[in-house]
Symmetry: none
Subunit: 201 residues, 4 copies
């Protein structure tokens, strides 16, 4: 009798987490509309009413995943913000490091990333926030004389996001390249440009 009402041996929290995980995969793979509540619960070996025990509705589980993504992004942003005084030589490697961290997070959470970056209606908001954060860092670095004074940091920040997004979906998530490689590629290109110039660095 101690086992009644918990037939699968799963605690409530476990069922909830399972639904969340499966939902993330389904949403990422098939998008919001093509993902059916019935499919999610079937895949979790649960019934439909159980779903509504843990989530208000389909929208709310999606939102929860969006928020999960957003919150973790915030954490990452906080880390990268705390920069000490820069030294010329280390700025590039620091930027590479930050980009790498971001990509590493994406790589570790491919489903959440697909949701937060592509599917979510709040994707724009989220990206805008990252852009803002990056721009602030860049402004600081321009002030510090590391980049040319006339640099349009907003454009750079937007471009960086654009590149990161693109390479995330064509190289990172398909596991063609590692976060570090991609980060290096991106930062080198943006910092040095395409022209050939005798020597620098």
């Amino acid at each position: 009798m101690a086992e009644r009402g918990r037939p699968k041996g799963a605690s409530g929290e476990e069922s909830r987490a399972l639904l969340l995980e499966i939902a993330a995969k389904e949403f990422a793979q098939h998008g919001y509309h093509e993902t059916k509540v019935s499919t999610i619960v079937k895949s979790a070996s649960l019934s439909q009413p159980t779903f509504y025990l843990y989530f208000k509705n389909k929208e709310s589980i999606f939102e929860e995943l969006e928020n999960l993504f957003r919150l973790r992004m915030m954490d990452l942003a906080k880390k990268s913000r705390l920069q000490p005084a820069l030294e010329q030589a280390t700025v590039k490697s620091r930027i590479i490091h930050n980009v790498k961290e971001l990509l590493a997070f994406f790589a570790k959470n491919p489903n959440l990333t697909r949701i937060g970056l592509y599917l979510s209606t709040k994707a724009d908001e989220i990206k805008a926030q990252i852009v803002k954060q990056i721009k602030e860092n860049l402004d600081y670095e321009v002030d510090a004389g590391y980049f040319r004074k006339d640099l349009d940091t907003h454009i750079v920040a937007e471009s960086l996001i654009g590149i990161i997004e693109r390479l995330t979906f064509v190289q990172l998530l398909p596991k063609q390249k590692k976060p570090e490689e991609i980060a290096t590629d991106i930062v080198n290109l943006l910092i040095d440009g395409m022209l050939d110039r005798g020597s620098h660095d």
Copy 2:
């Protein structure tokens, strides 16, 4: 009185074009699933059966829009391919010109662009094709000595697309900037990089 509610004798082609146009707007604004056939026809002052007179089903009108976008992109790609021997000084302006053309097309067809670049399941394909085209041009220009020999043209092409996509959605379509401005911004950044170097150009 001759104009009352699109008389029955309207040309079939006109009705078809109208549906196509409205569908593009609806899809762009609300996505595939949120767009209802009933809404499209209502907005065209037509009835549902008329929709099926011109399109096999909802999917097929969407595909037609995808293809429209793809075909026009092809045309653009063809134009940019036909380059004569380059002269150092004009390469940058030529690239700017090409990017500008692309952006101008997007600006003139915002709905189609949203469909072809975002909503379409073939968006990846389409973008991959553009990337390939750009890479080929870049390879040619590297050969011609305009850019540094070790430039990873594939990364550059992917990055360029990433940036274009991003700026299209945050600056171009909201009409914050004109194609020319954005094109200049992008190309300058990618070609020159972020570093400060005495003088060039």
Copy 3:
């Protein structure tokens, strides 16, 4: 200008007859509901409104085919009714002849037959009429002493129709046997029965 308004060179009657013929084939092949007006007119290289020029609606063209069948059946019945005084020896061959005539009609009008015998809601009526006609003939023949007095002519008539119907669809329309063969088979069986008896006829 003499040719205007009769583009296909078809007179009205010709178009009407064509539609009727095609409809018969379609109904016979696919049944009432699966037969679409659009299919009929397409097959006749005409437009849908033209259909309604000649027939009130889909039901009415079907009814017209039903009636066509019924009327021709009547004619046949009339013929078989006009029997002179019988002679023992010729009764069987006369019955065979009548059955053969009926089957020959079916064979010559397979589509109409399928409609009138199977598809029509009036099929029962039509068959009932034939049964009645046959029964009358049989009663006359029983009276004339050709068959045993206790013969239940109604049962025989119903049976005869049942057999004719069955063999029409499994042997006649698929052209496995000719009307004459089938008629002989049927009448022999019904008249002589299955038992082995020294000799008769």
Copy 4:
């Protein structure tokens, strides 16, 4: 109060069976196309989605009814096949018995019979199978010397089916006669024929 409109907690199997039963009646009465899913569920005091809980679609419930008919026919066929060595005197009564059993089944399942014998696209198949079964039995009986050696058993089998079908629809289902009567009528006619011959039995 416990009976009010089939409470939500009804057994699924009950609802399913109910739908099946009502569907059989509707199909039998109105044919496939004129039978609406909406009508079926309304008559079962259920909603449309419930229908799709138990059946894939309208076609599939129809097929299930077809199969039900076919399977029960098979059982009947099996029974009639297991015949011991015959004795002259009992063959006729045995045949009558078999026909009666068949008719009794039809009488007990009028809806299923209408579906399986008339409406089903597989009706021909089903009947062909019965014919084959009957023919086998007849062949055996001819071998045993009960019937004349030159009897075309195939014709007899087809005729028997034709008669049975006809009398089923005009006498049995309208409850004008009982299975036994009809069976006797049919078998007597087929075995003895229509001619008057001194005596036999």
